[in-house]
């Protein structure tokens, strides 16, 4: 029974292993076609260098060849990966394809490979061994899925920039994924060689690479069972056609291609999307989190050292950024001390976001110096700044859209959670403990912004206001010393904005230093201990909210110099919660007056 299908089953296993080598990088959003080259190098190196099965026995010979092949594949991936990891999308695909083609031609022109005739290899692999190997590979990716490392890769796929801002070293993770792909492709190459009896460089050509990619994508590149399903599909469809008597010739490839088209068009996420993905929220995690609330970082999380109140967190001196002659930010001197809540306001185009991008390390300054939590801005990569304790949200939400709300926040906890992948492979209980600790932290953060009941929803399915709050939860999860919010209330209705204001106040009470950009001036004046006003890239005022609201330069920047206009625009909003505000203070400034299209301030105010 099994013998009858042994060949088919073996090819399903081999195809699936090759597809896993594509899956390994697709999960991190990388498109590579170099796996054919890795497989070719490994197949020939393994078959050529390993001792003959007649000398050492079948299994030892195969194992030695596998070890050689996987090392060769991984090594080739490092060599190819180091210079190409900065390439994205199609560019990476074509560069790696170029590598694979070059490997194929070089191998064809070598004596020891037998050239185009190929190299004879004894058949050692049995269907059982093939499936055992497949099982191990699948196990690897299964355990990777819910580890910190696996989540980081998914985060990179969804939004690389946001992943960096969460403290993920994107370069290292991408290279690690690529090397995994190299090793798995190497495994495939060797197993293939020890099954088909004769290998030729043309077995690993462009068509083979595309076949591997197609298998991985058809199966589903976001779920670990995908490659197996894909390989089963790709191998069985022709077999079934043969079994039911479809003639050879054009009909079989036509139907196979048609089915492929149907799957890709109607099953986004591949065949694996037919399997319901379970969004895990172990019973008790939420309760644990509530019990923990207020205790600071929970057990199993890396402790963070926060600066004591009053210590400098951010010091900028003469900081400037120029874009082709346009000074977006010019000569900004600013010091933020621990425990402060600083509001950054100014008309659109004043350079607020640029300033914040420099502070969080996303944009290098073109002049001046800046130190943030002990890191020098400009030379320090974004993830290091994040590791120093800076966490941020973005003006336009940059969530990991296809991940659940909970997973988004778990990625946010990257810096405070411990790596769990290798321990998960061995089922160590400590890995489970650490995962639960991270989970508790995530649930706590979700709870804090009021999203606990939406934990299982995909980020892209949330309402706009919920997405903004999810971003804040994600930023909080890293237990930051400095939290930067870029227009958190934009697009929120007045109820949501009021709740946000309360949240910020309560975070500040916990000792968090907060820097936030907001157009809702009423909200800024209510929540901040200090307000910094930026106009045309320069700081025009800085001080307590009361002083700022009365500052003529600020009023002029927002409304122009006509005093009468300023008075009428500001009337009715004079008593914005701060008793200290002078009678003629402008506390709610019509944003439209500065030539912007921002939503008007609708925060409820309580006249006192």
């Amino acid at each position: 029974m099994l013998d009858e299908y042994a060949t088919t089953l073996t090819f399903i296993a081999l195809g699936a292993i090759f597809a896993y080598s594509f899956y390994a990088v697709l999960i991190a959003g990388q498109l590579s076609l170099g796996q054919a080259g890795f497989a070719a190098l490994s197949a020939f190196a393994g078959a050529y260098l390993a001792p003959s099965p007649t000398d050492v026995g079948d299994v030892p010979a195969l194992l030695i060849a596998v070890a050689i092949g996987m090392s060769v594949g991984a090594l080739a991936a490092v060599v190819l990966g180091l210079p190409t990891m900065h390439l994205r999308g199609v560019f990476l695909a074509i560069a790696t394809l170029g590598f694979a083609e070059a490997v194929r031609v070089v191998l064809t022109n070598q004596e020891w490979t037998g050239g185009a005739q190929g190299l004879g290899v004894p058949r050692v692999l049995t269907v059982g061994m093939a499936w055992l190997a497949l099982g191990l590979v699948a196990y690897w990716f299964w355990r990777m899925g819910r580890s910190r490392y696996g989540r980081a890769l998914e985060a990179i796929r969804e939004d690389e920039l946001a992943a960096r801002a969460m403290g993920i070293d994107v370069g290292r993770h991408r290279l690690a994924a690529f090397v995994t792909a190299g090793a798995v492709a190497g495994l495939y190459g060797v197993l293939y060689a020890y099954y088909v009896r004769l290998i030729a460089p043309d077995d690993f050509d462009f068509v083979a690479a595309v076949e591997g990619l197609v298998t991985a994508v058809v199966g589903g590149s976001t779920m670990f069972l995908g490659p197996i399903l894909g390989s089963g599909f790709q191998t069985i469809v022709p077999e079934i056609q043969r079994a039911v008597g479809v003639e050879a010739g054009w009909i079989r490839p036509f139907l196979a291609s048609l089915l492929l088209l149907v799957v890709i068009l109607f099953l986004p996420g591949g065949l694996a999307s037919l399997i319901r993905r379970r969004t895990r929220l172990p019973a008790g995690a939420a309760d644990d989190a509530r019990a923990d609330a207020g205790e600071g970082p929970g057990r199993g999380l890396a402790g963070r050292h926060h600066p004591a109140a009053g210590e400098p967190v951010v010091s900028l001196s003469g900081l400037g950024k120029e874009y082709g002659g346009v000074h977006a930010v010019r000569g900004v001197d600013l010091e933020i001390r621990a425990g402060e809540v600083v509001g950054l306001i100014g008309p659109n185009g004043a350079g607020k976001t640029t300033l914040v991008n420099m502070i969080s390390g996303l944009v290098p300054p073109s002049s001046g110096t800046a130190t943030v939590l002990g890191s020098t801005i400009g030379r320090t990569p974004v993830h290091r700044i994040a590791a120093a304790g800076v966490s941020r949200t973005f003006q336009h939400s940059k969530l990991f859209n296809r991940l659940s709300a909970l997973e988004n926040v778990l990625v946010g906890a990257h810096l405070v959670s411990r790596p769990t992948f290798l321990r998960r492979l061995l089922w160590l209980p400590s890995a489970r403990r650490d995962e639960r600790a991270a989970l508790r932290q995530a649930v706590r953060c979700l709870d804090r912004v009021g999203l606990a009941d939406r934990a299982a929803a995909r980020a892209e399915a949330l309402s706009y206001g919920d997405q903004r709050r999810l971003e804040i939860a994600r930023a909080l999860a890293s237990d930051p010393s400095l939290l930067i919010l870029d227009e958190p209330a934009a697009g929120m209705n007045h109820v949501e904005a009021a709740r946000l204001s309360e949240l910020i106040t309560s975070l500040a009470r916990d000792g968090l230093t907060i820097l936030f950009i907001e157009h809702n001036v009423g909200m800024v004046l209510q929540t901040c201990t200090r307000v910094v006003v930026l106009n045309f890239g320069e700081v025009i005022a800085s001080g307590a909210p009361g002083e700022i609201a009365a500052d003529p330069a600020v009023i002029e920047a927002y409304l122009g110099s006509d005093e009468d206009d300023a008075g009428s625009a500001g009337s009715g909003a004079t008593a914005a919660g701060r008793d200290a505000a002078p009678p003629d203070a402008v506390t709610n400034l019509t944003p439209g007056a500065a030539g912007t299209l921002d939503t008007p301030d609708t925060t409820p105010r309580n006249p006192t």
């Binding site: 199609v90 560019f91 590598f99 083609e101 920039l161 291609s257 068009l265």
Partner: protein, 291 residues
């Protein structure tokens, strides 16, 4: 001199093929891997038009152009439009176009069988010229002329006409283009049609040049097309032209001086170096990432 001319002739076909490839990529940011299948299909159709329809070689070209355009519309409708708005549209588009290419090739096999086909004897005029001691056939001159004319026409269309302006607007920002009244779906469909029409003509010219058409001819040129558009700069039309000519010349000279088995290593070695030093290609513009 002979080698130089041969390189230019074959290079102009590569360029024509690559321009179709890069047009879709530059404007729509999609890699259409069914393009090589169009290339192969049109070669077979061209041969049939001459063989059974009794048309002259040159009368067949406009018909093939239209045939290619129709295939392009089909590709857009079947493989790309259904993916609109999907997060994985990039990967899915690659795969769906591969699937459609597989269907095209299967249909070709159904109609023409698996064997190599040639133009009937006597379809080519015998006229030859001598330029600086090198032999040139009329056919080769026409290949070059047709390629250049199509490329000039395309450049004119993209830079000067209303349609071309729509294309550039879509390339810049599809949403903004739609808001400003550009019919994005129509521009997309037309882009695919033009791209495939150029690929189709390239296919016939290639078949004329070597007097064979094979089912696998598309796969063979696919890699070269990818190399050309990378070297020239993704989405850059003049870049694809220069890249195509460079590749044609490099191949011809490599065969003569290094040996035919190493051609691909040179092509891809060059490709690799360019990707590392200038990822945006020779004439491509670097896209700035926004925060």
């Amino acid at each position: 001199m002979q080698q130089l001319l041969n390189g230019i002739f074959i290079g102009s076909i590569y360029a024509l093929f690559a321009i179709g490839f890069t047009l879709v990529f530059g404007i729509l940011d999609r890699l259409n891997l069914a393009h090589p299948a169009v290339f192969a299909a049109s070669a077979f159709v061209g041969i049939e038009l001459v063989e059974r329809g009794g048309l002259s070689l040159w009368a067949a070209l406009p018909i093939v152009f239209v045939f290619g355009a129709v295939l392009g519309l089909a590709i857009e409708r079947l493989a790309f439009r259904p993916l609109k708005g999907r997060a994985d549209a990039h990967f899915a588009g690659l795969i769906s176009s591969i699937a459609l290419a597989g269907m095209f090739i299967a249909l070709l096999q159904w109609r023409y069988g698996p064997d190599t086909r040639r133009f009937p004897t006597g379809s080519f005029p015998d006229t030859r010229f001598e330029i600086a001691g090198a032999q040139v056939t009329l056919v080769q001159v026409v290949i070059l002329a047709v390629s250049l004319a199509l490329m000039v026409g395309l450049t004119y269309m993209v830079t000067r006409t209303r349609l071309g302006r729509g294309m550039r607007a879509v390339a810049e920002n599809p949403t903004a283009a739609r808001v400003l009244g550009v019919n994005v779906d129509r521009v997309t469909a037309i882009t695919f049609a033009i791209s495939s029409a150029l690929g189709a003509v390239a296919g016939v010219l290639f078949a004329i040049n070597v007097n064979t058409a094979q089912l696998g001819m598309g796969a063979a040129i696919e890699l070269k097309g990818l190399a050309v558009i990378i070297v020239g700069g993704m989405g850059s039309l003049p870049g694809a032209l220069i890249g195509g000519l460079l590749l044609g010349l490099a191949e011809v000279f490599a065969v003569q001086y290094i040996g035919s088995s190493w051609i691909d290593v040179i092509a891809f070695g060059l490709l690799f170096v360019i990707l590392l030093l200038r990822p945006q290609g020779l004439l491509g513009a670097r896209k700035v990432r926004e925060v």
